[in-house]
Amino acid sequence: MKKAMSRGDRLFEWTIDAFLVAVLVVTLIPMWYVVMVSLLPFGKSPSLFIPPWEWSFEAYAQLVFQPTIWRAALNSIVLTFGGVAISLTLTVMAAYPLSRRGLPGRNFIVGLILFTFLFNAGLIPTFLVVKDLGLLNTYWSILLNGAVSVYNLLVMKTFFQSLPESLEEAARIDGANDWQVLWHVVLPLSRPILLTIGLFYGVANWNNFFEPILFLSDRSLMPLPVVLRDILTGLNVAEYVEGGAAQAAPAEALKMAAVVLITLPMLLVYPWIQRYFTKGVLIGSVKE
């Protein structure tokens, strides 16, 4: 039988609820503001509420009808999916053996990997490596450079370690080799961590801005964040505006519409993997 809550407990719950609602509001207000300003018509000041009958989609139209944006979106999709595939494969391939206690020199290898986490090579050496490998101005310079995140690798390793060893032993008794254990036993049980780490990689690749700028010179290879920034730069430099190039939407609306466009795909993906996400990010946080 459920025990009735005392007055103090109820008060405590209400306080927690009120606090969470306040956090939610504080989180939502900036997002709401961004959406509202993106719908800002000319002649209106940015504000938290613009009545629906005054909404203007001119900023979105101006961005979406840019000839470069669709090519850039395709580039971003290729880089995101390609990046997730490569990064997840490499991370799993590194995390699984490192999670096995019997691996000789395991601690030394983990130490080496951790070293790169604490001290990275820096911009110029990385550039030189990418150049010497002949990867400049190719997707590979983005996909391979930093393909494995040490943080994600360690989280995944911890997850693999938490799987019951008896499952692996059972598979081995049935004659499974390392690859079969990984493919048929470990990975099917690892969906939460795969989706979580995949999301981490996906978001990082989708938002990747600096590496394309550094490694790519062919404009047709540039991803969405770079192209959106360039479009905004072009539209905002009013000092250099030329004849007949008057803006069709306020500069602020254009900026915010760009923010919405770049955020939307990730916002749409998130609900589908949310239930795995919570489980995945908690890996390694509790030792029982």
């Binding site: 360039d230 730069t233 072009g234 004849g243």
Partner: protein, 514 residues
């Protein structure tokens, strides 16, 4: 016999063609050029761009053009390329600090020897010895520093329809400006029965698009300091060089701005607003006078007249101060900067670079790079290049991504770039307004400011001055002898004297201060 002859003839013909093709290949010079995109919103030129073919056929150059990322990212990319000893042959540099670093690292080649190889361009663009001082090291010129064409396009715009309605004259002095601003604020010039207008709109803005904002409140208030003879950061007095903020008149100018704020004739949000907000508000018709560039005005005119159908704008000369001085502010005559990598010169590409730059300077090259495809992107009625606005900027922009290499600010060009436009039943001749803003602003050339290296604590130093002036102007600290002395003595804490001394030395060494 006939068969053999045919065979021989064919062989001779094909070997002749092959030889000429091979010769053409041998004599072609590969030239990599990297510039900041002139139209960032447009794609790169297509592979079949006429320019590539013409440059190959007529100049013997195999041109490879890449666009640098905008802003500081472009500097980062150039820095990385320099570290990899992979700088393009000819490239644009927007940061003088990066340029200096590349010179010190030996990555750039002196361009003195190239100047005689492009006489037209060198004579028209690079013959200003004073400007060249900015890119000179040990007597060698290390870059092609273009003259600036669009600077000084800023000014104060006044609502003539409001002046007429209230029976006021165009203000010519600071006192008249104050009175007009007060009337615009208090006498309901838009006649809507609400107290929703302000005399002046300006923000704290340090954008350096063609003008130099100086220390303090930024370029939107330089005209006040100009009226007191203290516009800009330095006084350029060879006998008593100092920062202008040490002058007694600097305090008087600050007191005048305080008066404007106290009388509530400036938009009360001015201290926290950004330029985009200012633009929104003048377009809404909230200001009787506002600070804006000609380009910024052109971009907003359509919206402005939609909101204010009967409005009429005038460009105000900078108001005169008590001693009759006036200036809209300070500017630099230095425009785009192009550098040549040492690698390019070492591999014998100097002549090709000179050939290409000369070609881009006038005639066919100028029009192709500056204006795009004839009869598609532009036409030439009465020799004035006229943009075809039916082709969207993001399409025609691809063909003019290198236009800054071509544009030189000649009168016909300015007429083409800033044409007459009709908005809201009013005619605006934009190139005339541009010329008017440059001519009547009494702008002060302070190109020398660019040789002054940023102090190691530059951000702290600028913040100190700016924050103190904002506090004075907002009334958070009364402007009196004690507070002003405290402000000046506090400069010591941010090592301002060292900055001043370094500036004086740099200006004297470079010849800007004599």
């Amino acid at each position: 016999m006939r068969k053999s002859f045919r065979l021989l003839f064919s062989l001779a013909l094909s070997s002749g063609l092959a030889a000429s093709w091979a010769l053409a290949q041998v004599s072609l010079t590969d030239l990599s050029v990297a510039l900041y995109a002139a139209n960032p919103e447009a794609p790169a030129p297509p592979a079949n761009w006429d320019v590539y073919r013409i440059v190959r056929e007529k100049l013997g150059i195999n041109l490879k053009f890449t666009m640098l990322p905008t802003g500081a990212d472009g500097d980062n990319r150039l820095g990385a390329l320099a570290a990899a000893n992979d700088l393009p042959d000819l490239f644009e540099v927007r940061s003088l600090a990066l340029f200096d670093r590349l010179v010190q690292q030996g990555q750039l080649a002196p361009v003195n020897s190239l100047l005689p190889q492009m006489p037209g361009r060198a004579n028209d663009r690079y013959n200003d010895a004073k400007r060249n001082l900015l890119v000179t090291n040990n007597g060698q010129i290390y870059g092609f520093l273009e003259p600036v064409t669009l600077s000084r396009q800023y000014g104060i715009w006044v609502r003539k329809d409001w002046l007429d309605k209230l029976g006021l004259k165009t203000p010519t002095t600071l006192e008249e400006f104050f009175e007009v601003a007060k009337a615009f604020t208090e006498r309901d010039p838009d006649g809507n029965g609400r107290n929703d207008t302000f005399g002046f709109g300006g923000v704290i803005d340090f954008d350096t698009a063609g003008i130099l904002p100086g220390l303090g409140l930024g370029n939107h208030f330089q005209w006040v300091y100009g009226a007191y003879g203290v516009a800009g950061t330095w006084n350029y007095n060879p006998r008593a060089f100092a920062a202008n903020l040490r002058e007694a008149n600097f305090r008087k100018a600050t007191e005048y701005i305080r008066r404007l704020v106290e009388a509530k004739v400036i938009d009360p949000d001015w201290a926290t607003m950004r330029r985009a907000d200012l633009r929104t508000r003048w377009q809404q018709g909230r200001y009787g006078m506002f600070f804006e560039s000609v380009g910024g005005l052109q971009a907003g005119l359509q919206n402005f007249h939609a909101n204010n159908p009967n409005a009429e704008l005038l460009l105000l000369p900078p108001p005169k101060g008590p001693e009759g001085k006036s200036s809209m502010g300070t500017y630099s005559s230095a425009g785009w900067l192009y550098a040549v990598s040492k690698r390019a010169i070492d591999s014998g590409k100097g002549a090709a670079i000179a050939r290409f730059l000369e070609w881009a300077h006038r005639g066919e090259g100028y029009f192709l790079l500056g204006w795009g495809r004839y009869r598609t992107d532009y036409t030439l009625p009465n020799n004035v290049p006229t943009i075809n606005t039916q082709v969207p900027i993001n399409v025609r922009g691809s063909y003019t991504q290198m236009r800054w290499l071509a544009f030189n600010g000649n009168p016909l060009e300015m007429r083409g770039r800033y044409p007459e436009i009709n908005v809201g039943g009013r005619k605006y001749v934009m190139h005339q307004l541009m010329a008017q803003a440059q001519r009547q602003g009494n702008w002060i050339d302070r190109t020398g400011d660019l040789v002054v290296k940023a102090a190691s604590n530059q951000a702290d130093l600028e913040r100190y001055v700016s924050e103190n002036l904002v506090q004075f102007v907002l009334g958070q600290r009364p402007i009196n002898d004690a507070n002003w002395s405290q402000f000046l003595s506090g400069l010591r804490n941010v090592r301002f004297e060292q900055y001043e001394a370094a500036a004086e030395k740099a200006l004297k060494d470079s010849g800007y201060l004599r």
